[in-house]
């Protein structure tokens, strides 16, 4: 008993000691493909406004379901427009979602023998092609559109393996179980993965833009204006530069 009381007080001490000096003000739920760019954006945002942010990274579908069930997120950055639109229709957001960037699609390989290109997909060395599940992941939908628009889908269907998210797609490609795969440009440009393997940007004319949408939830709507300040910041020139660095493009 004594020991338990001791460890409880120790735990309390640890918790108190670790408490940040300023409280986290803003909770931002963000789609996985955006995770690399967003940390840099948030850093810039906090430097400028002194508003602390907490990042929740997940797939857009999971985050949407969580918001529907009342998850405490202030801002939602989705990798498509469909899910935030649903939230708006349900009356859970302050306004309809707005596109702040378009994601780029690339072919990525870790193999030395393969030169990433659409023609290489039919190569016999390519046994598996990884892509995100088109039913649930926006980049997966874009990948399928590329294959269909180039009439490659039916020839390659046997080689396609579906990942549940863009992160898992990266897993399949980086471990080499799939020789090549479709992923987000932001992934191959991220500091962690830069220079690993080879990649090729795919022409955006073959797929609908992978629109990155932002919405503000109605949680704590009247608390303060920090969600709105983040919303404004992401459309600023400063954020735009960071997004471009990670391979995103803006609608002009």
């Amino acid at each position: 008993m004594k020991f338990r009381r001791f460890s409880v007080s120790l735990l309390l001490l640890a918790v108190l000691a670790c408490r940040p000096s300023t409280e986290v003000k803003l909770t931002i739920a963000v789609a996985a493909n955006m995770q690399y760019a967003i940390s840099e954006i948030v850093e810039a945002f906090t430097n400028k406004t002194e508003i602390q942010c907490n990042l929740i990274i997940g797939s857009s579908g999971k985050l949407t379901a969580q918001i529907k069930e009342g998850a405490p997120y202030d801002v939602f950055l989705s990798a498509n427009m469909k899910y935030p639109m649903e939230l708006f229709d349900d009356g859970l957001t302050t306004a309809p979602p707005k596109v702040y960037a378009n994601g780029g699609l690339v072919l990525w390989t870790q193999s030395d023998q393969i030169v990433p290109s659409l023609t290489s997909l039919t190569n016999k060395d390519v046994k598996h092609i990884a892509l995100a599940n088109p039913e649930i992941a926006p980049y997966g939908r874009a990948s399928i559109q590329v294959l269909r628009n180039l009439d490659l889908h039916d020839t390659l269907v046997e080689k396609l393996v579906y990942a549940e998210s863009i992160s898992q797609t990266n897993q399949f490609i980086s471990t080499g179980v799939a020789q090549i795969g479709f992923t987000a440009k932001s992934v191959v440009l991220s500091p962690d993965l830069k220079g690993k393997g080879k990649w090729k940007t795919l022409d955006p004319k073959y797929y609908d833009p992978v629109q990155q949408g932002i919405v503000l939830t109605r949680r704590n709507e009247n608390r303060d204006n920090s969600p709105q300040r983040f919303f404004d910041f992401i459309f600023s020139e400063e954020a735009r530069k960071i997004l471009e660095k990670y391979g995103y493009s803006m609608d002009e």
């Binding site: 579908g61 649930i136 579906y162």
Partner: protein, 223 residues
């Protein structure tokens, strides 16, 4: 309603359970009777899937099955077998994942039998194999049933490992648990619900049947 994922799930569970039984029986037999000093190591290894998160197993399978690595490459070059993203890869992974659920009941069943049963059979001229089949197995029927059903049920409920190495290929690796997950992700709650209910009903039926028969209720019921 697409029935393929459900059919695939039961096919996977059936094949896995059958092969796992063939592997686990000699293993459980060895673990029960061996005096080897490697026994504790073997027992620990068999139990590892109980404590390891499925993601750890999935991760190692992914690495092992990758053609970039020795094992995956050797399988591919020698036998032309590619385990990743294939039904047989899932079978192998499920067998390892469900191994303790089959081995433990068999082992505890066998070690619960008095040694003299085995010895009486030897003295009467029966070989080890004859003894196993004619004396030991008939006396651990409920352990056999428990092992088979647990392994079957555990394979049906498998998700993490399949998610990591399956690739969700319709008809080959897209099992029910994956299909349900994807429907939930796509916010198609109705479809997810249908799959889940069917899975629930069938597994409930199987387990109930086992509990009834193990408790002797089935016999009374049929009379």
């Amino acid at each position: 309603m697409n029935w393929d994922p459900l059919i695939l799930t039961f096919k996977l569970a059936l094949v896995t359970t059958a092969l796992l039984f063939l592997v686990s029986l000699p293993l459980a037999y060895w673990l029960t009777y061996t005096k080897s000093k490697f026994k504790p190591i073997a027992e620990t290894l068999v139990s590892m899937p109980l404590v390891l998160p499925p993601t750890v197993l999935g991760f190692y399978f992914l690495i092992a099955f990758s053609p970039n690595n020795f094992f995956g490459n050797w399988l591919d070059q020698t036998f032309g077998i590619q385990l990743v993203f294939s039904f047989w890869g899932l079978v192998l992974a499920s067998m390892i994942y469900s191994l303790p659920f089959m081995v433990h009941p068999l082992q505890s069943g066998l070690s619960g039998l008095p040694n003299s049963l085995k010895e009486a059979s030897y003295v009467m001229g029966k070989s080890r194999f004859q003894t196993l089949v004619k004396v030991l197995l008939p006396n651990i029927k409920s352990s056999l049933l428990t092992g088979i059903v647990l392994a079957f049920a555990h394979t049906i409920g498998e998700f993490g490992v399949v998610l990591m190495i399956g690739g969700s290929i319709p008809g080959s690796t897209k099992v029910a648990s994956i299909a349900i997950y994807e429907e939930v992700e796509a916010l198609n709650y109705t479809a997810a619900n249908t799959y889940s209910l069917v899975l629930f009903a069938i597994t409930f039926g199987i387990l109930l049947l086992v509990y009834l028969s193990n408790g002797g209720y089935l016999k009374r019921f049929l009379k």
